[in-house]
Amino acid sequence: MTGGIDFHTHPVLVREMIARYPELERAARETYRVGNNFQPLRVMLLEMDLAGIERAVVLPIDARTSRQATVYSNEQIRELCNMSERLIGFASVDPRGPDAPHDLTHAVKALGLRGLKLAPAMQEFFPNDRKAYPVYERATELRVPVLFHAGMSWEPGSRLKYGHPMHFEDVAADFPKLPIVLAHLAWPWVVDAVALALKYPNVYLDTSALAFDNPTDFLRYAMTQQVPLTVFERSLRRQLVFGSNYPRIEIRAVAKAVRSLGFSEECLELIFRINAETLLGERP
């Protein structure tokens, strides 16, 4: 397998960016909260190499209204992506701000970012809040996917209620041409998330679910016991993308876990590469 894509990484530990923007240290430690040492970008790329991952989506979070902070601005994501062609930049906008649709257009058209990241728990909005609909309309017009944080949330002060899959159903139904990715399998509500994906072909799930034990045991529980693996293999093979949630866990560990579950080689190719390429508009 070649050319894999990690659809879910947060570049919060990249040392080169911390050196340029010292405020990103506070964003990493307090807003996002991760305690690991800052690392050169080269280490993230080495991590991808060991995991068999060619490219990675790097995600910002715009939480200016709820936290008075951004965990990377869209401009900083662009700057980071300029350091390596292996990085795919997504934008984030504050859905509670009046300029959100304009900000998204700027991020896509002027900065070349290729998707939208929203984190309802950190941004403190329900995804089916009609105030967010102009953002979804603009994302649909721009033909970029939306990756939503869903399920449990670790960030300080974030409330789990915003991440329940049922709050995403209106979005899936009202914007059928908008691909939306529910991150982390929306754990612990995996069954609900799977139900949404079964019903709505524009709903995707990413594999970055991890709350206890280790990646292999946890994903085996979520993807073979909470929901049988056959459901993913047979029914959702084109709606599942590999995501690691790096640096909360190593990319290689999650990749190894996904590959250990028992998927067919054809399905692994879809999960690790083809479905992500489809979401990114690189294939029909």
Binding site: G35, N36, R42, L46, W154, F212, N214, D217, R248, E250
Partner: protein
């Protein structure tokens, strides 16, 4: 009396890896101005070691492989588990590396050598290795030189 502390960075490229840092330790000693004394080296991390052994490629495979057998990252199914395999709220990530902490304990975190006439005194086959158990990562090694000019 001269006391100098230097932090050297070592970047591992694999999950388990032995990296020869002897030249770096000798460089720090050489630049310290110490003629008679001691040099101490210590990893700054708890999932890596500093080891002294013969500097040959076969041992660079055997040593980490043996430590991995003694303290596997993922124990054989049904044998035992690690309490450390849990989400660490204070760290914002999963503690999925108990085996690597254990390997660090088994391997030790530091070493020391005498200094004579400004040179590190070590056995002919002794090589100083930084040993990575949880790479790839950029790591820090403390090297402190103490002695007289």
């Amino acid at each position: 009396m001269i006391i100098k502390l230097e932090r050297i960075e070592v970047t591992s490229t694999r999950e388990l890896q032995m990296i020869d840092i002897t030249p770096e330790v000798e460089r720090v000693v050489g630049e310290s101005g110490v003629r008679q004394g001691m040099v101490f080296a210590m990893t700054a991390h708890t999932t890596s070691s500093l080891l002294v052994t013969e500097g040959i490629e076969c041992l660079e495979r055997d040593v980490p492989a043996h430590l991995e057998r003694l303290a596997p990252k993922q124990p054989p199914e049904g044998s035992y588990g690690y309490y450390h395999n849990r989400y660490l709220d204070f760290d914002g990530r999963l503690g999925f590396n108990a085996g690597d902490h254990l390997k660090s304990i088994l391997g030790g975190i530091g070493c020391f050598f005498p200094i004579e006439n400004g040179k590190v005194v070590r056995g002919r086959r002794q090589t100083v290795y930084f040993v990575e158990y949880d790479g790839p990562l950029a790591r820090t090694v403390f090297v402190q030189v103490i002695g007289q000019a």
